[in-house]
Symmetry: none
Subunit: 210 residues, 2 copies
Amino acid sequence: MSPAASSRWCPTPEQLMILEEMYRSGIRTPNASQIQKITAHLSLYGKIEGKNVFYWFQNHKARDRQKLRRKLSRQLQLEQPQQLFYYHLNHPPHQFHGANFDSPAGSSALQQFSYENNSPGLLLPQGAGVASTQVMNYSWKMDIPHQMVEMEKSMMTSYDHDWMMMMMMEKSPPTSPCCSTTRPLQTLQLFPITATNLKEECTTPKKLSA
Amino acid sequence: MSPAASSRWCPTPEQLMILEEMYRSGIRTPNASQIQKITAHLSLYGKIEGKNVFYWFQNHKARDRQKLRRKLSRQLQLEQPQQLFYYHLNHPPHQFHGANFDSPAGSSALQQFSYENNSPGLLLPQGAGVASTQVMNYSWKMDIPHQMVEMEKSMMTSYDHDWMMMMMMEKSPPTSPCCSTTRPLQTLQLFPITATNLKEECTTPKKLSA
DNA sequence: GCAAATTAATGATTTATTCAAG
DNA sequence: CTTGAATAAATCATTAATTTGC
């Protein structure tokens, strides 16, 4: 098992970190001089050659772009902006700094999350409004002392497990926006809730501090 | 009154377990569709909204990375990093598609930038005997495009940081002679900031309560 | 044992990047 | 050069753990 002669470069954590740092800092295509210097520096942390540095940047840049492109195209083939919800959630249209928009009517951005695809995973417990309207009917079934419940791993039911498997199988894009077509549809849509509920808009206090 | 509603989501043990299991299984940035399903499913175990799931993954991923980086940074401080091989523990395979580029060959045109700007100062620390073995015969082409320099972020040793700064400052491209076009160039900080504004990442123990 | 006080975790927001399209 | 979309980093804020004095 001598570390000898691996056929290809294997960056050490330090090297990788530094390279990534440089990449983040803007370096994309270092020239010969830069590569020389980078190599010299990184060689302090492990075996490395100039070509490794060169290829690393090439590959990293390419894969970055590729990843982004894939994401974009996926995005584009969706007619429905459903995908954008969490983005807007995270980036409110305007900085409502102190003003919490409690006016039920307006509140643009957060509104566009039409629950067309509100697929409650299987059954809903006693008529809960699911993710929408928190009607506050949930009985918190946990008054259990924290320290007890703390480490209960492995109490996952096989049901949960299967569900998760399916969940993860779904590679990424919801694909076809319109119903049917190729829809895994492992979830029953029992509640065609149609956004009539006031939900986030009034439950999201948006900086409700104070 | 019913102020009972706590201002933030508090995951139940079941919810947390399932989320962690998913994370372990590879889910990092679920899309809206996935989030919806996850939310619906987890709502069986307690109150939860889509944004909770969204934030959970964001935070978990970020803190995971952070933890890892901290660990690596600590290792960076080691004297002889030469023998660190615990790298693939957490890094996805780099996927250097098999092809070994032992002789990039081909385009030899770009050797032009041979001006040895091997800067003085903190370049090439003395012990770098390893580096000397690298012959560095570049014969690949590399164009040197623009290079934005922005700095910040330092989770490396101040040595690394300074070195990188210098590295990036080197605007080597033979392009535009000296006419500094029109760039406010506000991102370039040349001042000897010294180690006072390093990020806490690897230097400060934060609060140090003891 | 018990709360007040303090510290550690972590949920929720904001800010700063990135790449590529316009 | 500017902008859109998306993410990651940094930060704020609140909850849970824990320490501590009684």
